[in-house]
Amino acid sequence: MRCFLADVVVLLLGLAVPLLAYSDPGSGALLLQLLMAGVVGLLFQLRKIIFWFKDRIK
């Protein structure tokens, strides 16, 4: 859970390191990608929890 919260904070606020890109990263599209990354990251965590429970049951 702590890991997930840390990821959410990082995705929304970012690190103090600037992006290294020469193509225009956009604004709305970048934000949308960050939001999607947050949602998919949550799914990843849930999936991990489900697999953990499955292993325990076995």
Partner: protein, 491 residues
């Protein structure tokens, strides 16, 4: 990465000591053209990453299937040779790419070809992800077409990725240059060639948003790629903290996020697939309303015989329509470039060429207003005519001349003059007499303007630059086929 090797491949002969720099946007390397050689200079800092990639499984797989341009590292001896004629190699590495014959640009592609280039970009990005690599940009200028098949040409776009980075920075560029032009074409009727000719980096979501009705803005594909990014962009427009690096704790999680993102983009691209287009010209070859069955059979038979007898290796089909004659030439072993200004018929020809695996490159080019030279100093993407001049040993202009003469008001001598620049040997041209039904239809009562155009006057104009090898009247009709040979052509 921006347009580059293609820009050069058709470079006319230049002295070896005058290389042409065609790439300058990517700080990781530059591309230059020395005569017909495409060279990429990579500084020392980028060499380990590039060498590792060139030996990777993905590179081998894509190169052997023709989806990635072939590359080889020049030996130190070859580099010294280049250095001796004034090309600096610094302390890095010099790659030579195999040239792709007849480079074309995204603004000359029908939606089907832009879609195919986008799919190749996503496939490569997904396969690279599994190797810990990624694409740092995603523009259609990274792709060329060899016949109807897309080829990825920008090897410097491939980079090692930070394993904990869950963001694909090229995502926005992929949306701007592939997805939005396709969506604008599908929902707003905006031709892809118009969107991409005037904008190097594609369409912005805010731009497309203005063209949509409120109802369209809420359609799923448009909502996610146009409306939501527009609203989000307004919300954080001036927030520069957005442009900071993001990393998650678990590399597997970052990879999972990117895998889902790329899969989602693939599904999105499927929604952008252009429907089988139809235009006023789509049924031209199947209905042959301007020919009797006998005339059409005679025309086909004549063209087939010319192709078999003369075996041209490179053919330009001007006004190709859905490409029956282009495909016929390709079946006879020629590499064919087929042009028409109607994107629907060009898209249909691309589908046929892919299905039959024939070497036909179909392009949306209006012969009366061919693609201009564009880009910085007009040097990044040469004009269509600069690329085409002298490249073909047969130019076909079937049922085309009267459209240029009547609708575009171009004199016959001008048409033949340009044809003589494009072909190195043969011209197969259809003469349509002003008495012809189609001629009169497009003349719309302006018959008087073409009073001087007769079979005799046409032959006289031809004789200025060509000699007539064969002429053939289509079943007592008002149309003749002429096979002409350029007077200055080698025997």
């Amino acid at each position: 990465m921006a347009p580059r090797p293609r820009a050069a491949q058709q470079e006319v002969e230049r002295p070896l000591a005058q290389p042409r720099w065609v790439s300058f946007r990517d700080p990781a390397g530059t591309v230059l053209v020395v005569r017909d050689r495409i060279l990429r200079l990579v500084p020392q800092s980028g060499v380990p990453c590039l060498e590792a990639y060139l030996q990777s499984e993905v590179a081998r797989r894509y190169e052997s299937s023709g989806r990635l341009v072939g590359s080889r590292v020049l030996s130190s001896h070859e580099v010294q040779e280049l250095a001796s004629v004034g090309i600096l190699a610094d302390d890095g590495l010099v790659l030579e790419h195999e040239p792709v014959w007849f480079p074309s640009f995204p603004y000359e592609w029908p939606p089907e070809m832009l879609h195919a280039a986008g799919r190749l970009t996503l496939d490569l990005a997904a396969d690279l992800l599994e190797e810990g690599r990624g694409l740092k940009d995603a523009t259609p200028y990274n792709v060329l077409f060899r016949g109807p098949q897309p080829v990825f040409i920008d090897v410097l776009s491939i980079e090692d990725r930070d394993p904990k980075d869950p963001v694909w920075l090229a995502y926005a560029q992929f949306i701007r240059t592939f997805v939005l032009p396709l969506l604008a074409n599908k929902f707003c009727g905006m031709p892809v060639e118009v969107a991409l000719l005037s904008r190097r980096d594609g369409l912005e979501p805010e731009e497309v948003y203005r063209w949509l009705t409120w109802r369209q803005r809420l359609r799923p594909a448009l909502l996610s790629q146009v409306s939501v990014p527009t609203w989000l962009g307004r919300w954080r427009r001036d927030d520069l903290s957005l442009y900071r690096s993001r990393r998650v704790a678990d590399p597997e999680k970052a990879r999972f996020i990117l895998r889902v993102l790329l899969a989602r983009l693939r599904r999105l691209l499927v929604k952008c697939v252009p429907p089988c287009g139809s235009s006023s010209w789509s049924a031209y070859e199947t209905s042959h309303t301007h020919y009797s069955a006998e005339q059409w059979a005679a025309k086909e038979s004549f063209v087939r015989r010319v192709l078999r007898d003369f075996r041209p290796s490179r053919v330009l089909d001007v006004g190709c329509n859905v490409g029956g004659f282009s495909l016929m030439a390709a079946k006879c072993g020629a590499q064919v470039v087929a042009i028409d200004r109607d994107a629907a018929v060009v898209g249909e020809l691309w589908r046929r060429a892919i299905a039959e695996q024939l070497d036909v490159l179909p392009l949306v080019v209006d012969f009366a207003r061919p693609s201009p030279a564009v880009g910085w100093r007009n040097r990044e993407c040469p004009s269509f005519l600069d690329r085409a001049r002298g490249q073909f040993d047969l130019v076909m202009m079937l049922a085309m001349l009267h459209h240029l003469v009547v609708s575009e008001r171009i004199p016959v001598s001008e048409v033949l003059g340009l044809a003589a620049e494009l072909t190195s040997r043969l011209l197969l041209i259809e003469y349509v007499d002003p008495q012809d039904r189609m001629f009169r239809r497009i003349a719309r009562g302006r018959d008087e303007l073409h009073r001087d155009l007769t079979l005799e006057s046409f032959k006289a104009v031809c004789s200025a630059q060509f000699r007539v090898l064969e002429s053939f009247r289509l079943a007592d009709g008002d149309r003749w086929l002429f096979l002409l040979e350029k007077k200055s052509s080698p025997e």
